[in-house]
């Protein structure tokens, strides 16, 4: 089983949580542990290895973020070390795409640039240049009922996604349209990248490690502590 971290970004009204709920809800998952609450959920899917045609299980750990503008500064805590990002906007609210675009920019700028990390604790120098970003336009159901409500044209979003090299789909969490497909695509993409990485087997370097050690712990230590 392969495990990936997926971070969920987007304005507070776009229905981020609904998308994940729809994806996780009503599906039995033997790999899911009991959860504390809805802001962190996990769900696994099956994909096919394109070469061997064998089933591969991919487990997503889904990290929700607070979409309100005032909590924007918290986001780096969440997207650090993420393998994938789901950036959500509402196709009936033009502004929400602008917000989504700003998230995409921030992700491209910050993630993968591990030297930019201000936190001195527990630095994982994970190189995240391979972050998979999937743009999602939610609330397609509203537009199907009333085409007038659409504020973001599909073509515009498609063009933007192609330019920025993002995956893209319009979905409806309410009617469950395209939800599974979004995660399936991300899973396949992540698997492809992971396979490439394994092929390249890039050499790791231990940056900034300090060189100290105690004498090797030994079973016959003369300086017994009980004396």
């Amino acid at each position: 089983m392969l495990q990936f971290k997926l971070v969920l970004l987007g304005d507070s009204s776009v229905g981020k949580s609904s998308i994940v709920n729809r994806f996780v809800k009503d599906t039995f998952d033997e790999f899911r542990e009991s959860t504390i609450g809805a802001a962190f959920l996990s769900q696994s899917i099956k994909i096919k290895d394109p070469k061997t045609n064998q089933d591969v299980i991919i487990k997503f750990e889904i990290w929700d973020t607070a979409g309100q503008e005032r909590y924007k500064s918290l986001a780096p805590m969440y997207y650090r070390n993420a393998n994938a990002a789901l950036v959500v906007y509402d196709i009936t609210i033009a502004d929400s795409l602008l917000k989504a675009k700003s998230w995409v920019n921030e992700l491209k700028e910050k993630v993968g640039n591990s030297t930019d990390d201000n936190d001195n604790d527990n630095d994982n120098n994970n190189n995240n240049n391979n972050l998979v970003i999937h743009l999602v336009g939610n609330k397609l159901d509203l537009v199907e009922d009333d085409p007038e409500m659409r504020s973001v044209a599909t073509e515009d979003a498609v063009k933007y996604s192609t330019d920025e090299n993002l995956l893209f789909k319009e979905v409806s969490a309410k009617t469950d349209f395209n939800i599974k497909e979004v995660f399936q695509t991300i899973g396949e993409k992540l698997y492809e990248i992971r396979q490439k990485e394994l092929d390249n087997n890039n050499n790791k370097q231990n940056k900034g490690e300090i060189n100290i050690s105690l004498p090797r712990p030994s079973t016959n230590d003369s300086t017994s502590c009980c004396s």
């Binding site: 005032r70 712990p217 009980c226």
Partner: protein, 500 residues
């Protein structure tokens, strides 16, 4: 384990400034569970693995105890967490296994070297040494029984157990707020920075302690909560978070955070449907609780977890909530009136200024109290220090006795175990002490000593108060003392109000 019970009952005994902090962080103060943890074995004794092994599973039920008051739905989930909770007792039994002896020796050797080679390692050194040891010993698990034949779940439990064991022992060497008092040396810059940041954060929380949940979130969902209910949950959440200082191991501290988050969800479930229980509503509530909780040394705690939690053991969920708490802390650290949702700025500013005024008053009061305390201390120091030394020595001897009897019996036991082919771990130490009478004798002596100290201290408190309030009847002062459990600060407050 009468001794520890009596020590707990006697917490009003002023154990001197050095010990109050340690006591405060001692889990045994909250749990009367049988165990041999000790308030005194900070240095030499901290090296004795055979001793720490006795620190039995006092935290095994923290998830259980904590959420009792929340609605049933959350309670069920609490139990789920408990299922995945580590079984420390089992790990200790495995360590007692004869074939696990090399593991015990490696651990002893490491703890000994860590504590003696240098008075205090820098943060980076500590992190590297402890992490290296974990990697080393986890590899050794694969060689020695009973660890060798454990399945992956059992192996993980052993890893958790080992982390808890060594961090419990090295806590006084690694947790920044305790360093100065336990090691009695000047601490290095980075550890000191933790303390500085603790104070900064506490002050920041106090600066904004008057804000309401609406200032953090104007979403309609949160507005719907009845004020009383909100307060009750917030209080509960704060309690859970505050427990973080009671535990030594990184994992136990994380559990306190998870329990706090569970309380937040308990609240969210009452006001939101499943689609609005995500981070949008969770984060503001968490920030509100952190702001209200007044957890001491929260920054130090988080850094301690980040430094000494073995990264392979962290699950995604633990990391998520740890990150959320760090996010909440960061938000508070950077908070200004501009980061809040304020409908009426004039009103807000008025509240802010009122709070500033109150804070100033409180600080002055505190200073005054501190001064009184200092004087009190100076007065009592001579007489107290002598008797406290007595107590320490006698307890220390008792511990070394325990250990020696334990170790000698241990080897004998191993032999008989072999002959009988019986692999059950040897029974707990206490049965192996030379004679029951001797132990009782010691316990009685110590209890007596504590009583004596307590009486002495109370008399002095009374004397001090009567001299402070010469016009008041001595009997009245005594009554107040009893009512206020001889807490000087509280006594003075009550007496002052009486006097007026």
């Amino acid at each position: 384990m009468k001794l520890y019970l009596s020590l707990e009952e006697g917490t009003e005994v002023n154990m001197g400034p050095d010990n109050t902090v340690l006591e405060e962080f001692d889990p045994l103060r909250q749990k009367n569970n049988t165990s041999l943890t000790n308030k005194k074995n900070i240095h030499e004794n901290s090296l004795k693995v055979s001793n720490i092994i006795q620190e039995s599973s006092y935290t095994n039920n923290i998830t259980h105890n904590s959420n009792k008051n929340i609605e049933e739905e959350t309670d069920n989930e609490t139990r789920d967490i408990n299922d995945t909770y580590i079984n420390f007792k089992l790990f200790i039994e495995q360590l007692r296994h004869q074939q696990a002896d090399p593991i015990v020796r490696y651990t002893k050797s490491f703890l000994h070297n860590f504590c003696t080679q240098r008075p205090l390692w820098t943060v980076k050194e500590q992190v590297k040494l402890i992490n290296d040891f974990k990697i080393f010993i986890f590899n050794k698990f694969k060689i020695y029984e009973p660890f060798k034949s454990l399945d992956s779940k059992g192996f993980k439990n052993a890893q958790e157990g080992m982390e808890k064991l060594i961090m419990g022992k090295l806590y006084y060497h690694c947790f920044s707020p305790l360093l100065k008092r336990s090691l009695k040396i000047d601490i290095d810059k980075e550890h000191r920075q933790d303390l500085i940041d603790d104070i900064k954060f506490t002050n920041k929380c106090k600066e904004y302690r008057f804000i309401e949940i609406q200032h953090l979130e104007n979403d309609i969902e949160i507005d719907k909560i009845p004020y009383m209910k909100l307060n009750k949950f917030v209080e509960l959440g704060c309690d859970e978070l505050n427990k973080i200082n009671r535990f030594k191991s990184p994992r136990d501290k994380i559990l306190c955070i998870l329990n706090c988050c569970k309380v937040v969800y308990g609240l969210l479930k009452h006001i939101a449907d499943s689609d609005t229980q995500g981070a949008d509503n969770f984060i503001p509530l968490l920030i509100y609780i952190v702001l209200r909780s007044n957890v001491k040394h929260l920054i130090s705690n988080i850094r301690y977890i980040n430094r000494f939690r073995y990264s392979d053991l962290n699950t995604g969920e633990e990391l998520y909530y740890l990150s959320s708490l760090q996010g909440a802390i960061k938000f508070i650290e950077l908070m200004t009136s501009e980061s809040l949702n304020i409908s009426n700025l004039t009103e807000f500013n008025q509240l802010y200024n009122e709070n500033q005024f109150k804070l100033k008053e409180e600080r002055e009061k505190e200073k005054k109290k501190e001064k009184e305390k200092q004087q009190e201390l100076q007065k009592n120091q001579e007489s107290l220090s002598v008797s406290l030394d007595d107590l320490t020595t006698s307890m220390a001897t008792m511990f070394s006795d325990l250990i020696s009897s334990y170790t000698s019996n241990q080897s004998e036991n191993s032999n008989t175990e072999n002959e009988n082919g019986d692999s059950t771990p040897s029974p707990p130490v206490l049965k192996q002490i030379s004679t029951k009478e001797e132990r009782m004798e010691e316990e009685r002596a110590i209890t007596k000593l504590i009583k004596k100290l307590e009486t002495k201290e109370r008399q002095e408190t009374l004397k001090h108060l009567t001299s402070m309030f010469p016009d008041l009847d001595k009997e009245i002062i005594k009554d107040v003392c009893v009512a206020k459990k001889y807490n000087i600060g509280k006594c003075v407050d009550s007496l002052l109000s009486l006097f007026n």
